[in-house]
Symmetry: C2
Subunit: 372 residues, 2 copies
Amino acid sequence: MKKIGVLGGGQLGRMMIQSAMNLNIQVKTLDPDPNAPCKAMAHQFVEGSINEYFTVVEFGKDVDVLTIEMENVNAQALIDIERQGIVVYPRPHHIQMIQDKRVQKQFYLDNGIPTSPFVLLDSKDELEEYEDFLPAVMKVGKGGYDGRGVQVMKSKADFEKGFDAPSVLEKMVDIDKEISIIAARNPSGDITTFPAVEIVYHESNLVDYLLSPASIPSDVEERAKIIAYDLLEKLDYVGLLAIEFFVDKEGNVIVNEIAPRTHNSGHQTIEGNVTSQFDQHIRAILDLPLGDTSRRCASAMVNVLGEKGYTGEAKYEGVEEILAIPGVYIHLYEKKFTKPERKMGHITIIADDKEELLEKVDKVKTHFKVIA
Amino acid sequence: MKKIGVLGGGQLGRMMIQSAMNLNIQVKTLDPDPNAPCKAMAHQFVEGSINEYFTVVEFGKDVDVLTIEMENVNAQALIDIERQGIVVYPRPHHIQMIQDKRVQKQFYLDNGIPTSPFVLLDSKDELEEYEDFLPAVMKVGKGGYDGRGVQVMKSKADFEKGFDAPSVLEKMVDIDKEISIIAARNPSGDITTFPAVEIVYHESNLVDYLLSPASIPSDVEERAKIIAYDLLEKLDYVGLLAIEFFVDKEGNVIVNEIAPRTHNSGHQTIEGNVTSQFDQHIRAILDLPLGDTSRRCASAMVNVLGEKGYTGEAKYEGVEEILAIPGVYIHLYEKKFTKPERKMGHITIIADDKEELLEKVDKVKTHFKVIA
């Protein structure tokens, strides 16, 4: 029986375990939170920091493959583990590159991957030189997540909100759609991409819901897919890579950001596609044949976020109402406490066509609430 | 967070846990085998006998609902637990009835549920009186399982192979097809049935593979469905009930046997239907709205049995070959040791039509083997 080690014990690891079970794969998880979503489900749960060098090195010693479910891990530890002969997928230098948005952008530029124009800054003082570059978005190189470390710069007046850290200033894109493609590559070099999904953002910058298929022309999807293949090949990547694209008002497709792991924009694949992103990640890192990524039907994914104004032990409202709708799948992450906008779960909705799908999305969003 | 207690920690409990996770339901499992398939996955695994009165009573004390994943449990313990106010679904007296094939058959007769003609015997000596009743099948009332406790009686010469225990002698049915319908009823009285599946038996009397849809006329399926509704209503049943039917050469539909739980003939619902049998069982026992049972596509289920001639630590051959076929899902049960014909897992196959489905079934059966 193979043993996979996973850095991070959150919902992504939890759903990976649900997949791994089917192949008799043992999953060992490292997470600092004793109540992490993987706690009860992992074959072995180790409480500890994924950022602490010696903890990560020690954790990786006895696994067949080491992988991650979030990218802010101690990459140096992974590099050293790999040198000792332990298989680590995605490869540590890819994780390290993706951890720094500056290095990521430079890679796109150097390798002909379409992305928005940018300049690299060492501190906010340098903003003064780039007034002509506005409107733009300033992003810290390292440590940003879910909207943190990101600041829109519309005019000079916004400069004071800038970050005093090595950052990237990206020219604002006149966005028409945001789409995501989840790609996978195994060590044998096989590549697959899931069909593009359309991401609809909530005001808080967390994903509100997503739709599959994305309502984009087929040539736009085809160009995104070609970029995805190109990116994985140029990186010599192994594992799952989530690629978020902007489609601008002129139909240009450019890479926004990538994540070296299973991704929120792929949750609907569990019910909506022949193979799920979690199955695909496991297939990729174990060098198994990659699965069929075809859509089985139209699907949507709604994030379940803690309701504003409620903090404490989580209660779920509307379970009965939404389970009465055909083709609605609740996925909760076993997080004991809710707080405003905490990601507590997701709901997948399947339907025969888009109209029916959006009606169901609306009902789900109306009825289902996490309170305390 | 609700806590479900499950008597039995085998593969059915394991797949129930995969479903329960999605609703933040804690699962506590009782099984005598310290290496049972649920061991690593249950929130709480209690090693102990499901037949031992005090073990079962103690186990049931702190759960919201107590259920089963196999029927040979201590039913008296469940009856007493229910008297103490613990919710037990399926209801203990139904489990008790189903444990005894004699009582089961008598119930069908008394309630107008079509079944084969039968006589009740107290010992094999009584067989002499029923030579005219042959060909027939003798089944022990209690304790038979997967072909054990069942003996075909073609002529008087077979009488010596009879059982010296309270038994039922059932007139042999001229079987055209064997089908199964999985039905569910919640405490509110809602009933659903999954579409009929066709069961193809292996020479060893274990299920070889099953097909959905069953290749039967729609009126045959309709009659089976009506019998299923009738049976659940007359029993005032709660939970999942698997109903195996014979369809005879004249198109008559009669009940063969029932099981008060999730069932081997429902595994393909995980990928093949909108709701899986495991989700449906949880919905039923928690009095949630029952899910849509519609088929999403054609599906088949192949049992993964230990290869003859191999006993020891299990190894799986052909994983790569069959994962390369689109729409093939491996489900292994984390059983460490294999022996001839031990049920080690199952494989679900989905396809757009029956021809494609049977081609894939053939490939799966050719390539996939459990050896030691």
